[in-house]
Amino acid sequence: MFRKINLIAAACATFVAMQASAQVTDNVVKIGVLTDMAGVTADITGKGSLVAAQMAVQEFGSTVLGKPIQVISGDHQHKTDLGASIARQWYDTDKVDVIVDIPNSAIALAVQGIAKQAKKLVMYSGAGTTALTNEQCSPYGFHWTYDTYAMAHGTASAVVKAGGKSWFLLASDYAFGAQLAKDTSEVVVAEGGKILGTVKHPLNLADFSSLLLQAQSSGANVIGIANAGNDTINAIKQAGEFGITQKGQNLAAMILMINDVHSLGLPAAQGTYLTTASYWDMNAKTRTWSKAFMEKTGAMPSMLQAGVYGSVLHYLKAVKAAGTDDADKVAAAMRAMPINDAFTENAVIRADGRVLRDMYLAKVKTPSASKYAWDYFEIVRKIPAADSVIPLSASKCPLVAKK
């Protein structure tokens, strides 16, 4: 009798699981937005990414080649197994044609492998690991918006050129932070600058005071902040509390999104240098799109969300041009066409899957210079695409023919 209840309970659990695998017919172009809806990257991707994808579909027209376009979303919660199983299920059972966003490098790499096996497309806007276009490159994966190399090189070289010759680096103590720090040092030294010191901190450090004081006492022109997310926000906030920028030193953040600046507030973030792939206030096209985005989400788009919009739009154009949603043909069409959307002008996709786009060095405005809501960035200069990507000759991607 006791065992029977076990069986019923197990059957209920199984019934619950059954709901997860509903079959869908394949007369539809299905786009899956795999993102983080409630975690640390929810503001810079999350629901905004889903809205961006929907806006792209709307802009294109809701059908392509006579088939309807469907956008679904999944929350990977930064759990690799969950992200990988959602991706597998989407490709294998739910007939999803392309997955976009993925703001987590481990999950992105996992989906790269899954997409290769399933022979379907994936376009990364949220992930930043350079492994996606080097060791783990794939003919089905497109690295759309940014990578750690671009952020480090973009900010570092542009800031050194603008006069920041001596640097002190604050890096988070894991592979990502170490990579950012390494890339930054290389660029600074190559451009004739000097690294006065580097200090590493554990992830999710709450108190940056000792590190910031070290940075301050080093007398460096620029304090490079080679970390991401909450760590960047905390470091910048506490630097503001110490009055570091008021005393003449500049902060250069390797990864800083407009949403981060919004939560920091201009008094704390003012004067920080950063690299971005796009900014909502760059020109009339970006302004129109971003205002429509703001009405739906309540915030201006981050460069990652703008990237999701761009990737989905380009994909749909390629499906129309290729006349099919077969992955190989659409990939070829995507590579053949230049990328043009509200935020991008004539970008191209390289052999290793990397989108070559112009980046922008920006500086956070002072509170007095900011005239209206979300008027946070001043675009200092454009960083041409060639300067912000690893040259093909140095690429570790097996798809790239070695000359």
Binding site: L7, A9, A10, V16, S73, T80, I86, D92, A106, Y174
Partner: protein
Amino acid sequence: MTDSSSVKSPWLVSTAVTVVCIAGLVLAPFFLYPILLAKLLCFALFACAFNLLIGYVGLLSFGHAAFFGIAAYSTAHALKEWGLSAEFGLLFAVLVSAVIGFFMGLLAIRRQGIYFSMITLALAQLVYFFCLQAPFTHGEDGIQNVPRGLWFGFIDLNNLTALYYVVATLCVLGYLVIWRVVNSPFGNILKAIRENEPRAISLGYRVQRYKLGAFVISASLAGLAGGLKALVFQLATLNDVSWSLSGEVVLMTLLGGIGTLFGPVVGASLIISLESMLAGSEFPLQVILGLIFVVCVLSFSRGIVGEASRIIKRKKSVLHSLR
């Protein structure tokens, strides 16, 4: 009518139930997505291994993800870099988690109660930090694209159904190991230690050895679950050694029923299914899990299976007293 006949021949019912369960396991991949099922089974085994410690020895370990994760990394590394076949990779993973379990247990069992839990947490964080920094784990990228290869040289594990059956067989074997440990003299002594350790000592049992033995068995089985998971998903990442996974397995076991054999399976199935179902919807999964946890702890603290079996036993005893 059925009640009295099942009271007379309980073994008939339990055999029937076992047959139905096995039939369910065999037929499941034809109705449900095999990867999801394999994931369910891995986490069910993980939860059962955890439950061995807390349910039957009374030791709450906050660091079980260390064994799960280090085994996942070991399997992934062995299969990818050393080219071992899956069965040896898993064997290696179980050995690694047994060894780590041995050393962790050696330190942790010297204390009881909350101190034991905190020591396991601290040691698990050491393992996490090691995995974070060691070059072979590739940090946050994790070990990706682990080849599945052939099982015993002839079963192609890239066929999802074949993979599911191999995983199911191993998980059932793991479950049987736990069942055998619990229903044995060794298991009885473990329960005695849980109930009253000083009495067990006074009876002459070397309780530290028994506790260490149970710890190592639990760690090895958690390692088997981790290795299988790396095989199923073809990756091993920092999530697998993180504290949040240790917390999740506690939740799974609590929901299912601490101290029941089948409880953790139900708890794990429920949580993994919910995760899968709600991933594509607007509902905040963490909030829902939290609510379920609160409801479970407040209203049925014995877990789903625990409460269910209590109700059955009460019905049985009422029937008995009426006869």
